[in-house]
């Protein structure tokens, strides 16, 4: 089973994300800020990271820059999930190594669509009738 690390300082958001990701077949681990997320990545890289931008202690952008600098740190697929929905933020995240970008608010359909985009989830199609 693939693991997804959910990084968000909001417990409510982490809970919603956990429920969606578990439905999509992921093992979910949580971190409340970038520093906790880095600790988790030092133990073992997850396949996917759902990453908030604005957090206390260490923000999501700083975390990703450090992650991408770690040996093997280019492997996890990073999907930002943030209220920062301006093109400037999106472009900056992509340039620094983000794979996808979700603008909050999000729901199951958006997470599933974005995870399909980066190959983390298989698309399911209806049977022909």
């Amino acid at each position: 089973m693939k693991t997804c690390l959910v990084v968000d300082d909001s417990g409510v958001t982490r809970k919603i994300a956990r429920r969606i990701l578990e439905e999509l077949g992921f093992d979910v681990i949580e971190a409340e800020d970038g520093e906790q997320a880095l600790e988790a990545c030092k133990r073992a890289f997850p396949e996917a990271i759902l990453l908030d931008w604005n957090m206390p202690v260490m923000d999501g952008y700083e975390f990703m820059v450090q992650l991408r600098g770690m040996p093997g740190g280019d492997a996890p697929i990073v999907v930002f999930c943030t209220t920062e929905n301006g093109v400037d933020h999106i472009s900056r995240a992509l340039a620094a190594g983000a794979n996808e970008y979700i603008m909050k608010p999000f729901d199951r359909d958006i997470v599933a669509a974005k995870f399909q985009e980066v190959g983390l989830v298989q698309a399911t199609l209806p049977e022909a009738v």
Partner: protein, 292 residues
């Protein structure tokens, strides 16, 4: 919503549009019709049903339209666009190399996500199409839907379903919470109002037809008639793309599936018998609304 109200709406939709809701789609009705009820100054679905029972024709039309307009998204189902990039376009580049022109029809263009996805695919091909004249014609029954398509303005929610973030940044301009597709992509798509039940030969012939998720709303005879007319509209070496849940099997000999390319069809040499527009079915005018 009470069970009798739900049953009333189910029956009404079936009679007016062919839309066949299963018994558990209360949430769908609430999400589509509650905004409509509020707009009409009504409190809830119960009020709405009462007003319809009192004979509000305009309200009935609005309810049918709200329920039959399918939601759609960019690069919906992915696979048809893989076919387009990997099979259709490489072949077209060879077979049309002489005339360097290509006509594509989105027969259920809806709010524009499908035609614009195709336009983006073509744009991504870059120099391979340099000097080519490519037309994308998007048709839909509803002028309201076509207006939205022409404007090319989408909500944050809409641009996050199916569109890779890199393409969003590259091909859209952000205006507050909304995103508008760039003028050069918009200019690649022409819009026309059209009911598939009526004659569409005036559109001319096409090399590729996308006709996804609209035929499911028609009965068998109408489907067969439309397939016959589509076969005379597509070039003999062209392609037809159907929706993921659609097939020609048992409906027409005018198209044959292409092996290992789900949803992709070619016209057969022997065309189906001439079929006039199914005028007897004009009682179902809302049908062609749905789709992509």
């Amino acid at each position: 919503m009470t069970p009798p109200d739900y049953e009333y709406l189910r029956k009404l939709l079936k009679d007016h549009s062919g839309l066949d809701l299963s018994t558990d789609k209360q949430y769908l009705i609430e999400s589509r019709l509650l905004p409509l009820a509020r707009k009409a100054g009504l409190v809830d679905i119960g009020d709405l049903v009462q007003k319809m029972k009192n004979g509000s024709i305009s309200l009935i039309a609005q309810v049918v339209e709200a329920m039959t307009t399918n939601e759609t998204f960019f690069f919906r189902d992915k696979i048809p666009f893989d076919h387009f990039r990997e099979k259709i376009m490489p072949e077209m580049l060879q077979t049309r190399a002489g005339r360097k022109s290509l006509r594509i029809w989105c027969a259920a263009g809806s709010t524009g996500q499908e035609p614009y996805s195709l336009a983006i695919c073509l744009k991504e091909m870059g120099a391979a199409l340099s000097g080519w004249r490519v037309e994308i014609v998007a048709t839909d029954l509803s002028n309201e839907v076509l207006e939205k398509s022409r404007a090319g303005i989408y909500s944050q929610f809409e641009v996050q379903r199916g569109l890779p973030i890199q393409m969003l940044v590259k091909y859209f301009k952000q205006t507050g919470e909304l995103w508008q597709i760039n003028p050069d992509i918009r200019a690649m798509v022409q819009h026309r109002q059209l009911n598939l039940l009526h004659d569409f030969s005036q559109l001319g012939r096409f090399d590729v037809i996308f006709c996804r998720n609209v035929l499911i709303y028609f009965d068998q005879d109408t489907k067969t008639s439309i397939f016959g007319r589509l076969a005379r509209t597509v070039e003999p070496d062209g392609f037809l793309v159907l929706g993921a849940a659609e097939t020609v099997v048992g409906l027409t000999e005018a198209f044959k599936p292409i092996a290992d390319r789900r949803g992709l069809y070619r016209p057969e040499g022997e065309r189906a018998a001439p079929a006039r527009p199914a005028s007897s079915l004009a009682v179902l005018p809302r049908l062609a609304m749905a789709g992509n």
